[in-house]
């Protein structure tokens, strides 16, 4: 059994609609990166695969690259490109 951290993951816009929930608690192996989170989400929510290249990540409310390594306690969020203004 691998050691894991549990992360709160928020969804917005069509990511939220594809997931069917506003947020999840997701356990990922210690040392996991954003890419690991993305692979997990595409697995759990296959509807996201269609536009997987559009997905963006925020860590602790700042935009982040998918390659970033996650830290226990991080607030994660996944969403499409922003369209405000």
């Amino acid at each position: 059994m691998t050691d894991t951290h549990s992360y709160k993951v928020l969804y917005f816009a069509w990511v939220r609609e594809s997931a069917g929930v506003d947020e999840d608690d997701i356990a990922l192996p210690v040392g996991a990166t954003g890419d690991d989170l993305k692979a997990h989400l595409l697995d759990v929510y296959p509807a996201l695969k269609e536009r997987a290249d559009k997905l963006q990540l925020a860590i602790n409310q700042s935009h982040a690259d998918w390659s970033t390594q996650l830290t226990a306690g991080d607030e994660l969020a996944v969403f499409p490109p922003v369209t405000g203004g």
Binding site: F12, A13, W14, Q61, H63, A77, P81, T83, G84, G85
Partner: protein, 151 residues
């Protein structure tokens, strides 16, 4: 004064400008940008739109934008208000106010804030057109290009 607000309620351009500029003695130039819901999208009538946002991150990003603008231009005051929720054609969406002794600084800072806001602030528009179901607005290549020119 420098401040940001994310709110469902409408804003009052005059009152919010005045509050933002209160006690700023040295100001000579004030630029405002007011974004409004348009009645048409690509020639189709817009019935309504819903603005979703990421509470917390939205405010944080707007504050970061203002801070970035202050490092680039000599600003005396700055304000960003962005609404969320259900909006109709003609409704206010966003207000940006910049004030400086120098008009070009105020103009450039306001344009910079809008360009960056469009690609960095976590808001998402879902439109309902008269003749089709609701859909999420796609990001625009021109907005990305507009952001890049400040890099």
């Amino acid at each position: 004064m420098f401040s940001v607000r994310v709110q469902e309620a409408d804003f009052d351009i005059k009152a919010d400008m005045a509050a933002s500029l209160h006690d700023e003695a040295g100001i000579g130039a004030v630029v405002t940008f007011n974004g409004v819901v348009r009645p048409e999208v690509n020639g189709k009538v817009l019935k309504t739109m819903t603005l979703e946002h990421y509470p917390g991150m939205a405010e944080q990003q707007l504050r970061a934008l203002l801070e970035e603008a202050r490092t680039r231009w000599p600003l005396d005051a700055g304000l960003i208000i962005h609404r969320y929720g259900r909006l109709y054609p003609g409704d206010n969406i966003v207000l940006v106010v910049t004030a400086s002794k120098h008009r070009h600084a105020a103009f450039e800072a306001a344009e910079f804030l809008m360009d960056w806001l469009k690609t960095k602030a976590p808001f998402w528009k879902k439109e309902e057109l008269a003749d089709s179901g609701p859909h999420w607005v796609e990001e625009r290549a021109t907005d990305l290009a507009a952001t890049d020119r400040w890099s």
